[in-house]
Amino acid sequence: MKVTLISIPVRDQEKALKFYTEKLGFIIKKDAPLGGGNRWITLVSPEWQDGPELLLEPAPNHFEPSKVFQDALMEAGIPYTQFDVDSVDEEYDRLLKLDVAFSVQPTEMGTVKFAVFNDTCGNNIQIVETL
C-alpha cells in the first residue's frame, strides 16, 4: 500500500480551487466530473508533482457529520491538515499580503516553527518548518 492521497473537506470546490492554486501555489493534477456538480479535483506541490495529491473533497455538503466535524475543528482552532514549508516567516509574510487570515502567528515549539491560517473553505491549515 502507498500513501498517495490526502483529503481535505471543502464547502465550495471552485472557491477552494482558487484559494489553493492562486494563493497557496498548488497545481491541478486531476479534475474530473463526478455528477451533481461535484468534481474529483486533486492538487500537487509544483516542486513535488509525483508526491501525494490533495483531494478537495465536498463531503460537508453531502454528509452532515463531516460538516459538524469540520465546524468543530474550526471553532477549536485545530488544524487537521498541515503542509511543510522552507520558511514559515516568509510564507506568513507572503500570505498576509494576499489577505490570508492567521489564527496562530509564527511560533517556535521544540524543533519546529509553525503558523495556522484560515483556508476560507472551512479549515484551519498549519504550515510547518523543521528547525
Binding site: 502507498k2 471553532e75 482552532g77 485545530i78 489564527s103 515549539m109 521544540g110 524543533t111 523543521t130 528547525l131
Partner: protein, 140 residues
C-alpha cells in the same frame, strides 16, 4: 471564528505541550545545531562520535535527545538527507556512481539498496524516469 484575543482550544493545547515537552531551550538548541551540522556535512564520514564531539555531548545522550525531539535517530535522519540529495543529483543528470559518493555513501551496493527501499525504485530507474518525463514535457 473565535475572537483573535481569545485563546483557542488548540492554542491552549499547544501551550500545554510546549511547557510539558519543550521547555528545555538549551537542550533543544543543541539538537537543532546537530541537525544543521548534518545538513551541511552529510557527504562526510559522519557518525555519532563526530556529532557528539561537535556539541561536546555524550553520544548516547545525543542519540536519545535527537530521537526525542525529531522522532528519528541521527543515522536515520542522515540517510534520509543523503537520499533526498541523491534524488536532486540524479535529476540533474549526475551518474549513479558519482551520486553515490557525492552524497556520502561508501558502497554502490548499499546506496542502491537504500535508495530502492526509500523511493521504491533503483537509482538508475529513477533517473531514466526523470529523463523520459522531461522529454515528454518538451516533445508531447
Amino acid at each position: 471564528m473565535p475572537h483573535l484575543l481569545e485563546m483557542t482550544f488548540y492554542q491552549e493545547k499547544i501551550n500545554h505541550i510546549k511547557a510539558s515537552c519543550y521547555s528545555n531551550d538549551q537542550q533543544i538548541q543543541t539538537i537543532i545545531e546537530t541537525r544543521q551540522f548534518i545538513d551541511t556535512n552529510f557527504e562526510k564520514d559522519l557518525n555519532l562520535n563526530v556529532l557528539s564531539d561537535v556539541n561536546s555531548t555524550s553520544k548516547y545522550h545525543l542519540h536519545r535527545l535527537f530521537k526525542r525531539y525529531y522522532g528519528l535517530t541521527p543515522k536515520q535522519y542522515l540517510i534520509d538527507k543523503r537520499i533526498e540529495q541523491s534524488k536532486k543529483n540524479l535529476k540533474k543528470g549526475m551518474s549513479v556512481t558519482e551520486t553515490c559518493f557525492a552524497v556520502g555513501f561508501e558502497s554502490l551496493g548499499s546506496f542502491s539498496k537504500l535508495f530502492k527501499t526509500k523511493t521504491g525504485k533503483s537509482p538508475s530507474k529513477f533517473q531514466k524516469e526523470q529523463v523520459s518525463r522531461s522529454e515528454l514535457d518538451t516533445n508531447f
